[in-house]
């Protein structure tokens, strides 16, 4: 697929020692929905603002459809954007807000009306066109912001945490609608969020950032099942992965991962990369749904239930394993009680192993 946006080696420095973005290389393909995900201060919003032209680029180049737009004004870039606080203009009607860019382009009035009405229909605000933003709810204002961005048919559609100001219920509804709109329009999109479940549910590919750098780029399945680092495994998932410090012992064909709670034997064939870790400590990650309740005879270790958190569709059980809180997901039907002793094992094909120094993935 054709590349729409290409960021090469871009960086943003605010002052001598403060970098917003240290180094960023990214290719966004045509019609792709990319989510920039990371904790606050990781540089995701700065990256988007550089693409938008609202922030100067300290170093590197930005290509859009093969053209260098690094130093172009925002309006000459062929992009549009949805802002976190909507940023719809309070003195203009909904219609005028949406039509703003079309009017500046001197498009004939008839065509403007048609395009605005089409777009309003798509985001379900066709009845609100004559209203002023002050009369709208937060969700409706967000739809206006969305319509204003969609109506220009941009080469690239930017969204800066557009759902973070909505209440939880509306956020989930808008998530689905946004994805449906994306599938319908096929607009190449970049979406910034700190909400990992939002990222997982919407993205074609997720770009996970930390401290101004990319930690992993991949599909939702990639980042979930093959997390590139302890940070990613601990950031993605509700609840996120559990971690154990284990000692790695290699004896011929057998590898044993040991700590004070368990001795886990794994076959060497499956974990070729572990060869160099004989006698060293590594980090074992396991996702909450990959811890299974088993018969006593098959148990890797046993533990008492500390807390049960019912979620309706499933329950989250928290255990205290040597002062380390471990969370697991248990089907709703399983009858459990506080203080029950559980016999547990891990799903062997779902282990995540990380180097304890670099915290990067080994297997």
């Amino acid at each position: 697929m054709a590349v729409t946006l290409e960021l090469s080696n871009i960086a943003k420095r605010y002052s001598k020692k403060v970098w917003g973005v240290k180094k960023m290389d990214l290719q966004v393909k045509n019609k792709e929905f990319i989510v920039l995900l990371g904790p606050s201060g990781c540089g995701k919003t700065t990256t988007m603002r550089m693409v938008a032209g609202l922030e100067e680029v300290t170093r590197g180049t930005i290509l859009l459809d093969g053209k260098d737009i690094t130093d172009k004004a925002p309006r000459d870039r062929g992009i549009s954007m949805v802002f976190q606080n909507y940023a719809i203009w309070p003195h203009m009607t909904v219609f005028d807000n949406i039509a703003f860019s079309l009017k500046l382009q001197k498009i004939p009035k008839k065509e403007i009306r048609l395009r605005v009405e089409d777009t309003a229909q798509m985001v379900k605000i066709q009845e609100l066109l004559e209203r002023l933003p002050g009369q709208l709810s937060g969700g409706q204002q967000q739809r206006v912001a969305l319509a204003r961005a969609l109506v220009v048919k941009p080469k690239l559609f930017l969204m800066d945490e557009p759902l973070s100001n909505l209440d939880a219920k509306l956020r989930v509804i808008m998530r689905t609608e946004l994805k449906a709109i994306h599938l319908k329009t096929g607009a190449t999109s970049i979406f910034v969020t700190h909400d990992q479940s939002e990222a997982m549910s919407m993205a074609d590919r997720i770009v996970i950032m930390k401290d101004g750098e990319i930690v992993q780029i991949g599909t939702p399945d990639d980042v979930y099942f093959r997390s590139a680092s302890v940070f990613v495994a601990g950031f993605i998932g509700t609840p996120p992965a559990n971690f154990f410090n284990v000692h790695c012992h290699i004896d011929g064909k057998d590898i044993t991962l040991t700590n004070e709670n368990f001795n886990l034997s794994i076959s060497r064939e499956r974990f070729e990369n572990l060869a160099d870790y004989e006698g060293k400590n590594i980090i074992l990650g396991i996702r909450p749904e990959d811890i299974e309740i088993v018969e006593e005879s098959e148990a890797l270790f046993s533990n008492e239930i500390m807390v049960i958190e019912p979620q309706g569709s499933h329950q989250v059980v928290a255990l205290n394993v040597s002062d380390n809180i471990v969370k697991m997901i248990v089907p709703a039907e399983t009858k459990l009680q506080y203080n029950d002793t559980l016999f547990l094992n891990f799903k062997m094909n779902r282990l995540h192993l990380f180097d304890s120094d670099t915290e990067l993935r080994i297997n």
């Binding site: 938008a52 032209g53 609202l54 004004a73 925002p74 309006r75 992009i79 549009s80 954007m81 802002f83 976190q84 606080n85 940023a87 719809i88 203009w89 309070p90 003195h91 703003f100 860019s101 500046l104 382009q105 002023l132 933003p133 002050g134 009369q135 204003r148 220009v152």
Partner: protein, 303 residues
Amino acid sequence: MTMKNPQLLLSMETRRKIMPYLLIAPVIIYYFIFWLFPVINSVIGSFKDIEDQWTLSNYIYIFKDPVFYQSVINTGILVVFSVTVEFLLAFGLALLINIKFKGSSVFLFLAMIPMALPAVAVGAIWTSGFATRGWLNSFLMTFGFIDDAGKFLFLAGGKYASMLLIIIVDAWQVIPFVMIILLAGLQGIGNDMKEAGYIFGGSRFQVLRKIIIPMLKPTITTAMILRIISAIQIWLIIVMIFGFNRIPVLLEQVVLNVDELGSEFFLRIGMALSVIVALIVSLVAILYLKVSGSFEKKDGDSE
């Protein structure tokens, strides 16, 4: 809650009702004594002659006096030009400082100095500046713009030149005040409002005209109304620089009649003139609010 004593409940209800009035009573009493009473007094006084008889003669005297018409015209010219100049320059400065360039806070501090000076001091500074051997001419000579023979006779100019000087001095003092109001308004406009303007195709000028100025309108109205009212009341600076009766304006004539001419007759004329000035100020203020659309009921404010 059980209602054991309905009578007590009723009195609580009454107390709740009179409470707000009790709380604002001190202000109302203050207003009656120090504001309303003198106002009524001078309105009544303006309709009486020195023998304490009801009369319109004070007003008739004023309306027959050519100096009155002169002062109305002068005041009008000063208001129109000084407010326009002050608004444009103050708006430009506010936009500049709002960019937050390096040292903009120092610049803001410097720009505010004239605002801190009382009108008497401003008058003194500029009287010594405009003097033929004053600091303005010295300054120009030091830097070689003029030689000794080319000194400007600032204070000897004709009526319009003199008014120009007054506008310059008034603007010098008042621009910081207008700028602060506009700056406060500008800072209330979220950055993303402007950024959205740039993203959706606006140039700097278009964003200014279609987004910033309309969003700033309530602030502009406030600044303008305050400025227009105080421009109508300009007098002290004129008297400080030119003395009485050289450039007659409305309030200067009031002061002249009440304080300088001193007799009971002129005091009555001064009272009548005050009433006229008060009426003019109110009329202009209402007219401005009407024209600027501030009385229109905005249906966007329903929330």
